[in-house]
Amino acid sequence: MQVSSRLIALGAASAILIAACSGGSATTAPTTAPSTAPSTAASSAPESMAPESGAPGSAAPSAEASGGAVNTDWKACVAFDTGGLGDKGFNDLAKKGLDDAKALGYDTAYSEAQGATDYAANIQRLIDEGCKTIVTVGFNQAQATVDATLANPDISFAQVDATWDEATNGKTPANFTGLDFQIDEAATLAGYVAAGFSQSKVIGTYGGQQFPGVTRFMDGYYAGIKIYNEKKGATVKLLGWDAAKQTGTFVGGDNPWGDPAKGEQLAKTFEDQGADIVGPVAGATGNGTIKAMLAANKWAIGVDTDQALSLAEYSKAILTSAQKVIDVAVLETIKKNSGGDTGGENFEGTLANGGVTLAPYHDLDSQVPADLKAEVDQLKADIASGTIKIADYLK
């Protein structure tokens, strides 16, 4: 019994060590270093200074906070969820946005959670540290973000890829910015490329469940293919989504977002109907589809992040991805907040402001014809300038 209890102690200790090591390898190097000077100076400033309005020529540096100028008195922070950092996706992009803000002179900090109990606590720690903008990442933190937003009207909050749920939580507060993405713009480009690239001239798509955030991608594919057909007099078909009727193929069931095997089946179904490119909008279920398309020497379209990078083992099958540019959204939010706009509406990522984009073609770059690439660039410019309206192609 003594031997076994010793073994267990060893096992427990090594388990913790392994956890520490694996976590550690995913995180980046410490971002340095004693940055106490500006923050302590700010917090110890006597209250009599009251920089409100005052003479226009006053020396207070915070007075220049207009027109997107950098306000270095502003502390910008990001709260990550568990195991977020190192995901080469959402979390690392949010971190990049924060690092960009730091490079501009903002005081920055971030927190990492180890479990659900840390979400509210970490946001509160950031508040106590004097953060003025707090961006949260990850659906698990949604409720903690809502609670903190309502309890701290003097601090600006934002959440990546979320909008305020007015049905449950009332009107969007003036200190909240939902980082929302007009992903249909990027998806339209992806649909156009797919239409031009497809050899069978049949493309498939499906979603996890019929949510607006999902069908927005599918609308984009639909519009992109329609634009291509009109321009070229072609008859490329989209399976799985009819934007006019708003009906299509969805995984549904108990596990719509985490069932790669189901994704592989769906890929086969679309292939049987002649599709050689499929754009799944279904989280990890979609990864199964991409895997199956690779096995069949066919192609897929990625969603949310540049999946040719995040799913590098399948990159030969990933034509491109309709991508949300989180780092730009985070940086723009920080700039907006420090410029005096606390929020109250969503940040809308568009092609025009770089909030959404079409990912590079990566491994397939040499196979995409140059004139198709040029047409996509032209379409991007037309959508960004408003010459082409996606809504016109959804009828």
Binding site: I8, A9, A13, A109, D118, A121, R125, N140
Partner: protein
């Protein structure tokens, strides 16, 4: 020797173990501090100064994050408002919030270890307890008063976890299946049960595509201090009460004696007329129930929403904690407070310095290793092992150390 020094003696090794862990931890801060390392060639003085400054800043942040920031305490004293007082005492209360689940789970481990069974499934019992409480709470929503829901959900959670402890206990007693294997495997089953349950429309938050439950805002364990954003709730008091109850049960009741007797020597206990199989099943069931009580308090108290990351791995940390504390309830409370302080302070350290919070897990692991190897600490600090009083007689870890 005075009474006070004699009482302090057993604390010497753990304290030196903690100091050693921090020293080793600071070495890891140094070698991951690329910013200062890169300056070592060009400006060694600044590099060394910067590195030492970083270590000092990190550990200072850890202490203030765990106990309280003197500046903020000062502000609270000079201008006491609800908010400033809350800010001043929040670090301390958060340490207690972090310690609560560790106390529950540590006690759960201790009961099983005292009874000679190794419950490695505390993590799963904790998670499933939280899950059971969530299911009952959502079932009863809008039907009965909140206080009734709270009690019913807690009982539901405890019963779920007790069942999850009963299964391996029963398998061990009736079929001889080794509980280490069955409990470890049941941890995985518990995690999948939770994921499966959270995907149902009944539990899942409306409109969410992710496995996360509806918010349990209609039932809440009452907070202890009614100030802004202080989450410390009665779950902590319940944890302390459980430590007293477990202590009383193990050392003052016949049943507790039977459990410990079968823990010491199952054959002797059976020869003395005690039911060894009954003891195993009872110990595992109680153990599972205690862990689940911790999980229920967490989800109904400070987390308020069931998700698959409800646990920070408390069920595994608790195994080490219980061994550290020699499976003594009071020792488990002390060790839990220490580990709660470490993990709570570690978060502020991460925020202040950018040092990954993983370092805290690393230091926790080092503390466990050094305390579990008192011979190593005595050798490191060259103090006379033979003069150490045999206070750890029932402490498995200490006994092994001196035997080695």
């Amino acid at each position: 020797m005075s009474r006070a020094t004699r009482a302090l003696r057993p604390a010497v090794t753990p304290i030196l173990a903690i100091v050693t862990a921090f020293i080793v931890g600071s070495i890891f801060i140094l070698i991951t501090d690329f910013n200062n390392l890169s300056k070592l060639g060009t400006d060694p003085a600044a590099a060394i100064g910067g590195a030492l400054g970083l270590i000092g800043q990190a550990y200072y942040a850890m202490v203030t994050g765990a106990l309280g920031d003197p500046d903020k305490v000062g502000t609270a004293i000079t201008s006491p408002t609800a908010r400033s007082v809350a800010t001043a005492i929040r670090p301390l209360t958060e340490t207690l919030v972090a310690a609560s689940p560790l106390i529950f789970c540590g006690l759960a481990v201790a009961i099983s270890f005292r009874s000679g069974v190794f419950n490695i499934g505390v993590e799963g019992q904790y998670v499933l307890g939280a899950f059971g409480a969530t299911v009952v709470a959502i079932l009863l929503k809008d039907t009965v008063p909140a206080a009734v829901i709270l009690v019913a959900a807690t009982i539901g959670g405890v019963l779920t976890g007790a069942l999850w402890g009963f299964i391996p206990g029963f398998l061990k007693a009736k079929a001889g299946a080794h509980e280490v294997i069955t409990t470890i495997m049941l941890n995985y089953v518990a995690a999948q049960v939770v994921l499966f349950g959270l995907r149902s429309d009944f539990l899942r938050k409306a409109g969410s595509s992710e496995p996360i439950s509806k918010v349990l805002d209609f039932v809440r364990v009452p907070v202890l201090i009614p100030l802004p954003a202080l989450r410390l709730h009665w779950g902590f008091v319940l944890a302390l009460a459980m430590a007293v109850v477990v202590s009383w049960f193990l050392f003052k009741t016949t049943k507790g004696f039977e459990l410990r007797a079968s823990g010491f020597n199952m054959h002797a206990a059976r020869y003395a007329g005690m039911s060894a199989t009954g003891s195993i099943i009872l110990a595992m069931t109680l153990s599972g129930g205690l862990a689940a009580l911790g999980g229920s308090m967490a989800v109904l108290g400070d987390v308020t929403q069931m998700s698959n990351d409800i646990s920070t791995g408390v069920g595994f940390t608790a195994i080490a904690l219980a061994l550290l504390a020699g499976n003594r309830p009071l020792g488990i409370v002390v060790a839990s407070l220490l580990f709660g302080a470490l993990s709570n302070g570690g978060h502020l350290m991460g925020i202040k310095t950018g040092i990954p919070a993983d370092l805290i897990i690393f230091i926790e692991a080092l503390v466990i290793m050094f305390v579990a190897a008192p011979g190593l600490i005595r050798w490191l600090y060259r103090f006379d092992a033979t003069r150490m009083p045999k206070r750890f007689d029932d402490n498995a870890a200490a006994k092994e150390g001196s035997a080695a």
